[in-house]
Each structure stands twice: as C-alpha cells, then as structure tokens.
Symmetry: C2
C-alpha cells in the first residue's frame, strides 16, 4: 500500500501532527525529531496526498481553462502561456474544449464545480447569462482572455482590438492602398467581430476613404471561411488591392484562394492578418499581421487569477500591447509609383 502520514508517524514514533508540521515547515519540533521524520519519509517513499490536504485548505491548486478547441492555434498558444505560468505557481490546469459539438460550456462548468477548481480562465468565450448564474453560484474567480462581458467585476486580458484593427488598416493605407477589403469575424462576436470591423471603418474614415459595404465579408475566423470569403469578396469588388482579415487563419485561407486563382501576392493583392500565430510565418509568402502577445495573454490571465484566488481581492483588467509584424504579404505601392 501507499504509505500515509499515519504510517510515517508510527514508523518514526511520533504523532501525525508532528509529521504534518515537519512537512509544512511549521515550528514545534526539535532538529533531532525533524531529521528522524525526514529520514522515515524518505525511507518509506512517502508522498503527501494533495486531495486529502484540500479538505482542510479548501484549495485544490487547480484551475480550469475553457477554450473553444486546443487545435485552434490562437487558443493553444494562450493555453501554453496559461499552463507554463500556472505550473510555475504550483497550479495544475484542466483543459476544457467547449466547442466540441454544440456548447459544452455548461456541462464543463458543472464538472469543474464538483472537482472544486480554484479558478477559471475563459479564452474567447462569450459569457451568457446561464453561465454567469452558474459561476455566481460557484463563487469561483474568473478571468477572461480576449473576451468581454457586461459585468465590470470580471477582469479581462486582451489587446485593444479596435485600435489594433485601426493600425492594421492604417498600415495598408500608408503603404499606398486605398481599395481595402475586410474579411471580418462573425458579427455575433463582440470583440473579434464588431471591434475589429469598427477599427477598419475608423481608419478608412480618418484617411478620407469611403466605406463600402461590398468590401466587407464575414467568416468564422477559420481557414475555410477565409477561402470562401475571398471568393465572395473578389466577386463583389474587382478593384481591391489589399485585404485585412480578422484572423490569420482566414487571411491564409483567403491567400490560398487567391493563389489558386493565379493572383500574385503581394504584387496584385496585399494581405494583412491578425493574431500572429505560428502559421503566419510558415506560409509562403510569410504573412504580415497584427501580432498579439499570445503567451503573455495566457500568463497575465493566470497571474491575475491566482491573485484573486490567494488574496480574495478583485483585480483590474489589462490591455496588452499589439504590434504590426511586417513580413511579405503587403506591397508598398508608394515606392513602386516613384
């Protein structure tokens, strides 16, 4: 059998309280006793049972991460950041793929409730009222990554999406582009959808370029939707010289469709994506994109979550910086005009 603290106590001729104290570095024993206990522990190969410990602590040192899918490169990069930092702080993480079939979020929340996780990170999840009520009842701290909710007490970590989209489009304009299409995320998504499109519109407006409805098409952030969006875009508007996509995957899908049509990139059409996932530099030509600090998003989120868990205080939200990552898919029309 696996030895318990009682076995150690018996073997070392001390009480279980003493073993516990040695184990936790408390006071109340002589050095001689300490050595004896430590030796016994090693001899017996004793390891404390974290679960039994929870019964007193009320801490499982475990957090749940709700993400659409680990195969989503954006999500998995954030998860990587979460996991690395959580381990460093002594926490383990449960992965919860919510978009498997239908919305499994509720089912998962029930599981996490029963498993008594200490906190939850929501990545790219829109919190509806049903979730909110359950979370309320669970009394568990939450942090959002790249998501929003109307509750101001729930902290989030994200990029300034509107500004980032604005910067992307301004970048295209500064490179001499005036006829810029956009492949937007779904309009239901309040941040990656609406905000990024708003940034696109604002940039056009500020530079005195008229917004045209026919130049915006919608996808679901994934590759295939990028392809079909590009097809639609090319049908609706022949005059486009550049495309801003609300995700790298859609940008790559769009590029792929364009290349299949024999369109040269960036000579004929320029592309700029959003996310800076690994994929964006693996393709040819490498995608210019709006970079989000993916690992950092995850890390900051857990950091905040752990603060909430361990202090019980609320924590402020945080906007992390984005950047334009210049690669090879945007042509500088100005230079060519000289």
């Amino acid at each position: 059998m696996i030895p318990t603290i009682r076995d150690v106590a018996r073997e070392a001729n001390v009480s279980i309280a003493t073993v516990s104290r040695v184990l936790n570095g408390l006071t109340g024993y002589s050095d001689k006793t300490k050595q004896k206990v430590i030796k016994t522990i090693e001899d017996m190969g004793y390891h404390p049972n974290a679960i039994a410990r929870y019964l007193n602590n009320r801490r499982t040192q475990t957090i749940g991460v709700m993400i659409p899918a680990v195969t989503n490169e954006f999500a998995s990069a954030v998860l990587q950041g979460v996991e690395e930092y959580a381990l460093e702080r002594g926490y383990s993480v449960f992965v919860c793929n919510t978009a498997v079939d239908g919305n499994q979020t509720m089912k998962y929340l029930q599981v996490l409730r029963e498993k008594k996780i200490d906190g939850i990170v929501f990545v790219c999840e829109v919190l509806d009222n049903e979730h909110k009520n359950l979370l309320e009842a669970m009394k568990v701290p939450i942090v959002l990554v790249s998501s929003v909710t109307d509750d101001p007490h729930i902290p989030y970590v994200r990029v300034d999406d509107k500004q980032a989209a604005y910067d992307a489009v301004r970048y295209l304009i500064e490179k001499g582009h005036k006829d810029i299409g956009m492949i937007s995320g779904s309009q239901e998504d309040p941040i990656a959808g609406t905000l990024r499109q708003q940034g696109y519109r604002d940039a056009l407006y500020d530079k005195g370029i008229a917004f045209r409805r026919s130049r915006v098409v919608y996808g679901d952030f994934h590759y295939d939707s990028g392809m079909t969006a590009m097809e639609t875009l090319l049908k609706q508007d022949k005059g486009i010289t550049a495309v801003f996509a609300a995700s790298d995957e859609m940008a790559v899908g769009a590029m792929n469709y364009a290349m299949q049509q024999g369109i040269r990139i960036p000579e004929e059409i320029s592309f700029i994506g959003y996310d800076n996932i690994r994929l964006s530099r693996m393709i040819y030509p490498a995608l210019t994109t709006v970079g989000q600090p993916l690992l950092q998003l995850g890390q900051e989120a857990v950091s905040k979550l752990i603060t909430m868990i361990e202090t019980g205080r609320t924590v402020s939200s945080q906007v992390v910086p984005h950047e334009i990552v210049e690669r090879q898919t945007v042509r500088d029309i100005c230079i060519h005009n000289i």
Copy 2:
C-alpha cells in the same frame, strides 16, 4: 456557505447515509424519502464534492496527458482526441507541457502523483528509466501515443511508422521519382526518427535504388529545422526531384526554403510530409502527406487507459491505419514523360 451532504440531511430530516444512498442510486429508502431528499437537494442547490468522494472511491476521474507542447499541432490534435473522449467517459484531463524548458516530465509526474490522477497518457515522450521507476512507484496505468518503450506491459497506440514511411517513399517512386531526399527527425527518437528513416531505406532498396548518405539530413520535427535541412540538402545533392520529410512542419519549412530560392513546387521538386496536421492543407500548394488519424490516436489511448483504470487488467497495444493524403506537392513524372 456551500451546502454539504450534512446540510441536506438535516434539512430533509434524514441521515446523511440516506442522502448518500439516494445520490448514488442505491437501495434502502422509500419512494417518499427519495422525493423528499431530491427536493431538498434542489432547493438548497446542493452539489456533491467530487474530492471528498475520492477519499472513499480512490478515483479522481482525472487523467494526465504529458505532451511536448500544446502549441505543437500534432500533439494538440491528439490532446483534442483525448479530451473529447475523456469527457464523454466522465474524466477530466490535466495538460502537462513537458518541453517548456528542459525536461519537466519528472516534475510533472510528482505533481500528478500527489494529485492522485487515475492514469496517464504519454504523447511523443520517450520514457527513460528515471520516469519508469517513478511510474512504477506510482502504480498508475499508462498508455503511450506514438512512442515506444522496452517494457511490453505498457500499451501504445500508434501508426506503423516504418510501413508508413515506406508507403510514402514508394508513392514517390511510383510517381516516377528516383532521386529522393529525406529530412529525418532526430536519430535519438526511436520511432519518429529511426523507424521512418528505415522505411525510406527499405523502399529505396526494394525498388533497386541506391541509398545515398548525402540525401538524408536531420531536423527536430519543427519548421525551422525543415528550412535549414532543405538548405543543407540542396547543397549536398543537386539532383533531387523529391523530398520525404518526417513531419509536416519540416516539409513546410523545406518547401518554404525552396520557394524562397525560386524553386517551383511540384514542378522542380516534389514534397511529401508526415502527420496530416491542419497546416498541411493550409499552405499553397497543399501538401501531400502521410495521414495519421490524430484524434483517433488520442481517443484510442484514453479508451485503453480507462479500461485499465476501471478493470485493472492490462490492455493490448494497437496500430492504427495510416493513409497517403494526395494533394498538390507531388509531381507525376511518368505522365509528363509520355
């Protein structure tokens, strides 16, 4: 406070044993009592504490998945399979990124031991003796995915790597290629390295093509190593018409390098990869590759693991089928010769 089984018992005027029995669908109570208990549970919003339950059951309904990194697309696809199926069977999964910095496997195994997980899935992990000893002491069932060990009692789930590599190279040969380079994984990797290279050699041999050392270069399965490997390959041997890479990422890196050199794919050089990760169809031209059933690998692994957990029996290993996924990176030289 969160209600406990005692609160429910007091409120319903029954003993805690009775509440427990109702909860677990055991016998020993009248229908009237049952209704009363159920109503009290609902009124109070009681939810059982899975952790307290563990103390008796000795089951946490939790498994650990050790993977190099969730940002590794092969690994994340397997993880997705694991997670989906685990949830279905009522298990939660701890993600353990082992390749963060240095080898964190040992550290993680200690955590999993203390958290009393019911079993472990190792993805792409070479089990050294240190791990083996610890696992032995933990007395926890293990299943390997795409990995091997000399212990015949540890079941694995994987593709027949040698045969799959053989098939890939044969496919190239059947398309008329004779001058085939290989970008191999590291030789330390017993399966993805050694076996796949063996398949390459065997296929050449069977078709009467001489093996040339200068046509094999080594990478680490990742993108960048694919690029540098291609550079080396092109320096060492000008006459190559096709390249077999031991991973899709390396194939894509190699293609990227080739395209940067102005080499046309597949007209001048053909490529075949290995894994069939999402990336392989997102690039242009889309990569022909050896497909592994990634989700299935994960699913089969948990399925076996749960059998071991719940029955205590050992389980047999399994080889899952691979397939050649034809896309656009292999030129049929025969046709062009007509």
